[in-house]
């Protein structure tokens, strides 16, 4: 376990900024408790300072996880956001997409969001913008990247892809082995 280097934090912050924009500040500068980012076995964890300090006494091979895992660094040094970060993304998301109940299961099986399943979308969402996907009852289901801007989606046919799938909560079941 170690703090991120500057390059690593930059990679993490740019990824997060895709979804929550300037709200990252709320993750770093929290009023309730001090939180910090830590790297352990290529994975980035976001935990309170107290739990991090206690976890230091756990030996490196024995420590599995602490706080919330945000994602991992690939071997080529890129950062990949995991579904575990959804809690914070949903809390601070700038752009949101709601999908209809009939679109929930297809999305949870790892498919892209089609226009037919689109329930609502934040106004003036630009193209290629990270969005958090909710069910109609405001349960966060995952996140992805918009294929078109809000304006352009109006002209599309119902089978067109609106949001490219990046991660969904179904991964807790599907990718349990590789996620952690």
């Amino acid at each position: 376990m170690r703090p991120l280097t500057e390059d690593e934090s930059k990679a993490v912050f740019t990824k997060l900024a895709n979804y929550i924009g300037k709200n990252i500040i709320h993750l770093i500068d929290r009023p309730d408790e001090r939180y910090c980012f830590r790297l352990h076995k290529d994975r980035v964890y976001y935990a309170t300072e107290t739990s991090m300090r206690l976890a230091i006494s756990v030996a490196r091979p024995s420590l599995v996880s602490l706080g919330t895992c945000f994602g991992k660094f690939t071997k080529s040094g890129k950062f990949k956001l995991h579904i575990m970060a959804l809690d914070y993304l949903a809390q601070y998301a700038k752009y949101k997409v709601w999908i209809k109940p009939n679109g929930e299961m297809p999305f949870l099986y790892g498919n892209h969001v089609l226009k037919a399943h689109l329930g609502r979308i934040t106004e003036d969402t630009p193209e290629h913008q990270g969005v958090v996907i909710f069910s109609m009852s405001d349960v966060p289901l995952g996140f992805g990247v918009t294929a078109r801007s809000t304006v352009d989606t109006r002209k599309l046919d119902p089978t067109a892809i609106i949001v490219f799938h990046q991660a969904d909560v179904g991964e807790y079941l599907r990718d349990e082995e590789t996620l952690f």
């Binding site: 500057e6 740019t14 900024a17 910090c36 980012f37 830590r38 300090r53």
Partner: protein
Amino acid sequence: MDVSNILASHAAKFQTTNVEKDIAIEVDPGYLTTADFNSIDEESYKWNLEEHLQSLARDGTQALINALFSLPTASSPEGPIAQLPPPTTELPRAKPLPKPKPPTKWELFAAAKGIQKKKKEKKEWDEERQEWVDRWGKDGKNKQVEEQWLTEVPHNANIDHDPRKTAREERKARVAKNEKQRLQNLARAAETTPQESRKRDIERTLVQARTSTASMGRFDKQLEGEKKPRGIKRKFNPTETSADDERKASLALLTRMESDDKKMRKESPREGNIVNVRKAVRHASKGEGAIALARKGEDGKKRKGRR
């Protein structure tokens, strides 16, 4: 008037300053310490531990203060100050004894021949000046020839003969030789076998060669069985830093990321990032970009497969 009663009651209020024990308390005023070697009285230890410890501490302190008052004093603006004698207690070393230096080549030779070591004085007697002069250094004896205002020139001397220069060169050569021998001695002490030194040399050369390409070894292909260079460690911040500092650093990074988006996309010029990757890619792909380069590489592989 009989004051003995009052005196006695007054004396009873204070404990006597004399400390009497079976074994006298050892005081070392140099370190301001006392050592009480008496065995612990089990009864009072068990009866009331706190009181027992306090009385022990009191006795030791009293003994120390008694010793302090018997020391010679020097007056100072703050009042008299006792002059502590040098400490008598021997403290153990904090570090282990240094290892003896390995013998030099000359020392080995001298030992074999039975040559005794003679100590050379730093000063030498100068007959002419009738005084002691330094052997070396400023106005040293070894520089006498080159610093003379008048030097005799031999008969068969060349036309460009410069006695000062020759003397100086000779002296410099002697210094150089000595330095060489010193380094050789050091090297001899460090290495165990010639094979090992050879291996080390090769490894060092290899590491140098790896980083001696145009991209500082960044785009070189890893050979099969090639090991990572050893002994090069990356340094990270300690895990346990103050969260406040961390927060500040992150916030600073964020503001920098926001302020100049374009600049941040480029690699920041810092140590460890000596290579300008964009430039290197441009150079390697002859200006066509990374994608073209990758495609070319794939084509090559495919062709190989077909053969």
